[in-house]
Symmetry: C2
Subunit: 384 residues, 2 copies
Amino acid sequence: MREVAIIGIGQTKVDEHWDKSLKELAGEAVIDAMRDANRDYADAVYIGNMMSGSANHQQHLGALIADWVGLRYTEAIKVESACSSAASAFRAGLMAVASGQLNCVVVAAVEKMTDSTMAEITTELATAADADYEAGMGLSFVALNALIMKRYMHEYGWKKEDFAPFPINAHVNAVHNPNARFQEAITLETYLKAGMICPPINLLDASPVGDGAAAAVLVPLDSVTRDGRPLVKVVGSGGATDSIGIHHRREPLFLKAAEISSKQAYQQSGLTPKDIDFFELHDAFSIMAALSLEASGFAERGQGPRMANNGDIYPTGKLPVSTRGGLKARGHPVGATGLYQITEVVQQLRGEAGGNQLDGVKTGMAQNIGGSGSNIVTHILQRV
Amino acid sequence: MREVAIIGIGQTKVDEHWDKSLKELAGEAVIDAMRDANRDYADAVYIGNMMSGSANHQQHLGALIADWVGLRYTEAIKVESACSSAASAFRAGLMAVASGQLNCVVVAAVEKMTDSTMAEITTELATAADADYEAGMGLSFVALNALIMKRYMHEYGWKKEDFAPFPINAHVNAVHNPNARFQEAITLETYLKAGMICPPINLLDASPVGDGAAAAVLVPLDSVTRDGRPLVKVVGSGGATDSIGIHHRREPLFLKAAEISSKQAYQQSGLTPKDIDFFELHDAFSIMAALSLEASGFAERGQGPRMANNGDIYPTGKLPVSTRGGLKARGHPVGATGLYQITEVVQQLRGEAGGNQLDGVKTGMAQNIGGSGSNIVTHILQRV
């Protein structure tokens, strides 16, 4: 199996892009990534996207986007695993290059959500849950996460304000990220006063949807001619599922799929949680940030909020998370989010994270969660 | 790169399965395939599907189906490329096993279309075309194919009745396939009297949609213990795109993506069109059957109908096609079709095709078309 390098990255700002179509958004990210990689050709285009078929009345994004960016005739597919679609597409592209079957894959992920009404988007998002036993009963995604958070607070004795450091950290970091949807800091007071959506989840526990696209160019490491720039390779990758409905889980408060996929990534890389310098986790809701830290080996069960309250997750802490704003403040264009996470890890490892740059980081992890924890994909990247 | 064998296949009848949910349908095919393979575990589940997000209000089929069939925690993704979703998922699974990264992948493809109205399904199918320049102008998929067929008849001088052998052959063959939607033969007279949908396409030029699922189990060839049954391996695989809209194509009457992907499959296998014993082609419309024969190297440009009228495509001909009814009579559950084609090739190569069994066949080809020719995936399978 060949080692794989990420030689180009691109992303658009997460925003309400009413003036751009789906393919225009994706095209911007792909062309930026290919320019960054100094390539004008690829063997395949892998697209991550969740809801274009219903939200944009357009399926078949592989053929659509490949042609739009000038790669007509190139093999192209879409990969979907709900909110982890982008990381699943990245992992598929990674396997194709690692295996020697393809020599250059452009992975791009895109979601365009703000042309729809919030009612439509809430319905679309619910298709990531169990249609028969969750969505069909009227459970929205916020409600599912609220059930988990409520039980977690009951079980481990945490209070509402104990979750505040997650969104506060994300929002403070997003101030320095020009591609973030909300480039504004919040305080504990703002957090505690935020409107309740579904108790105990308030507006500042929930990530905002948005339109956006990100892309990465993957090639075999040994094919890269060094040009003096830092180079980033993928050292670990894993993917796993859990029951789609939370009512079927043996332990609804533990992300088993995060544990399995992060262990796969640790094993492949020969690394342990202690070797990870920073972690782009899936803070779609504050509770998910806590659960990710626990299942990925950074905190004991029920102790995710302690890490946050100790300051460990801040840029100066032991394990900075959401360093460019995370889902919470950079925004969560659902099927594209996993590739924002990966491109942000690359930015940090290359020293291109601007006002968010962490000192001396060599190894970063990205974890993308599909559904309420039912599909989780983890990648570890390293500067070489 | 490891050689890959198909050690298990399963499929449901293509029908109106109003009594079964999406996951029940997929589950039947997967469990049949795993029983056939004598396996109770897989490293990953790859799902092919096009429209479940809108037609069934359920995305995230990877996690849904993996759990349903007893493979909770297993990695699982969905692959989509419109009507070629199933073959794209199969190709992704093939690459994962060939590369040595996974040792057993279950590929399953499912589509459940008959719970929706025909107006809804026509709208869903149009998402495989260019939303801005085709679907947005009111062009349905039948209309797109009608434009191609009309121009083709004008350009090459064929008459309506010259296309009759394609559906006649398909329907005669489907009589012997218990999983076919329409197990009834038709005559030239029936064909010519069939109601017009969109000139020149009549009801018997168009494949029927339906509900159905098919599955295949992929493992490395060298891991298989022979048990006396014929074994089938994948010897060639290719995938390519063309512009999503036909108005952008340099040659709207030639399936460039079929030419590229079949050449890739020929090259990988060291075979030529002459070595192919039979061909499960994508006869969604009669015109597509003709164009497939031409682009895949079996007929000169404009001469597909001649092969049909010579009788070359019949079970006794030089290159039998649609041997179990094809899309036309077995039925076309859109995102599942490509895996029906592959499982039918396996049935023929194993000698399990019942009343459709071809004599002494060793090499079969399957070609799955997404959109109006914008994504085409070709596989060559061989008995070993």
